[in-house]
Symmetry: D3
Subunit: 131 residues, 6 copies
């Protein structure tokens, strides 16, 4: 039975990116189900659930950090989706990435923007042809 | 004579962190004045001056990125000041750093929070004893 | 009242590095006490408390990772202490760092070994002159 | 004629991951054969051949470092194989990666575990259908 | 109308890697055309256009940095092409990467050399069968 | 008795930065003398001693890589000295760092230039007052 922390985290995941969360949990189920639990309990139930920042702001700073680090493309794409679902516009995401050129260099910004383009395009295809 | 881009950047620097900017420009004057110019023109005049994100949001994502990267303490402290001057509360800055534990690990979050504590303390001393 | 997870984490911290933990918790108390709680609950109560690796092995991999990352000197030193307290010898710690030259380059290995030397020396002074 | 150091390194490579070593040496042969020599001589002949840590421990710390760095997927997979061949269990490798969530963040741990899953699956296929 | 800075940057891009630049600008056109402008104006018009280092030296240090960082494969490949077009030999590029083993570890050097091999091979194919 | 590789490496170290090398070897003597040997044998005897790049070019790419990585200040300063001793001008070193703003962000460039300023200043003091 999921803990209260996990429930709280899952509530947030359902708001910001239910598909990525489900895909991750399915991927991890056979090999490291406890990591799924830690994602729900700690990352979302303990951290994202805190007051003090809006979910939109939380997704913005995550997109910034993942763009600057430049070594976690799948998570960057998931959080671009999460940012859009939390109220960011596409242009705001582009702005975040342009600014990362200043702090992490142009390659990080370029690769971030190309990831964003892929996410934006996939969403438009999905909206046009919902499954 | 400063370019229009530099003027626009300096206007923003005067809003968010005039003291750090002045200290940096003095430090660089004898060795790399063009870097000061690029900071004013490109980082602030071209990027921070863009519409699309508020200065408060821009400083929040910079604080997030520098905390996650964990290798630029002087710039992190300057941007904690910049975030406070742009409308962030101390608690919002702490929230950003707590969230970085999820994306860059606990050492990055801890070192970010210790940097924030030093900035917050120095500001309280300065407010009590303005020069 | 501390959670069962925090109690479990604190038990481990008392075994591996009670002084660093106490210093960290004191440092964070006024600014981010929840981070201390997450360290105890998640880092130690959820992760280090797991079966599957010995505490000595857990400290060895942490020392390796922090040496390779090269941007968290205070945490590296704490975990060198933790490794020694968990059963690593000084020579084993040096071996970890030499090996990191292969994966993260010579500067990371050199800076790791200099950190280890400082820790080893401080411990010898403390043993000679216990407080 | 290979040096004594290269021979010593090749002996270790034959124990821990002969297939990856062979694939790497073939890949490098036409372009940088000296790098193959440095891998055999320095990385394995000078470092891994040292007493002080077991091969299993050496592979564990390498897996930890590569997971934390998060930017060398092919080498991470090779060393997951090397860890298994040196006496690590699959569960021990998962534990290493879970712990890296604490020091390098959740994306590093997740991407490490997905790499491990791919390695574990490929080995099961190979065992069922040996070539 | 492109600025003088953009013109100056485009002149350099035409010398060192017109195809990559055109591909990047096409990729960014629909999503972040200002980033293309910043690449031309700042990266090439302000920085690469400076006296003090030759274009060959500028490409060499960029190849070194991108190899050491290890998280921007597309840009590394573009700058390997740029280095060749600026007067570097293939062997000089291999030397740069071998040296990065010392400063960023063997995985960074190996992945850099494999990227170089792909670039060198593609150029030979193109020279044999020009489009 | 030092190996031929170590002799070859020491010859290069005597050309480019004998003081840093001696200080490092003294520091490591009591704790990890084999690391000093690997520095002399592998880093300088195997890599820097190779033909294909001049020592000046080798130091330039090292300064670029260490500036971009941003987490090894002592080594960066040593190699700024090494670059000057190998024929780089102060202005060339500044140019390297300015260019790193493009690939690793402004904080890396700024911190690199401040390190360079410290090195340049210390050398001028030493030249004015030789010991």
């Amino acid at each position: 039975m999921p803990s209260e922390r996990a429930e709280r985290g899952m509530d947030i995941l359902r708001q910001i990116n239910p598909q990525s969360a489900q895909a991750l949990f399915s991927e991890l189920e056979s090999i490291a189900p406890d990591l799924s639990r830690f994602v729900a309990e700690f990352a979302y139930g303990d951290i994202y659930a805190r007051p003090g920042l809006s979910l939109r702001e939380r997704e913005m700073i995550t997109v910034a950090a993942l763009t600057a680090q430049g070594n976690a493309a799948p998570q960057l794409k998931s959080h671009i989706v999460g940012a859009l679902n939390s109220g960011c516009t596409e242009q705001e995401i582009i702005e975040i990435m342009l600014q990362m050129a200043v702090y992490a260099g142009f390659p990080a910004a370029i690769n971030g923007i190309i990831a964003a383009k892929e996410v934006f395009t996939a969403r438009k295809v999905n909206e046009a042809h919902p499954t």
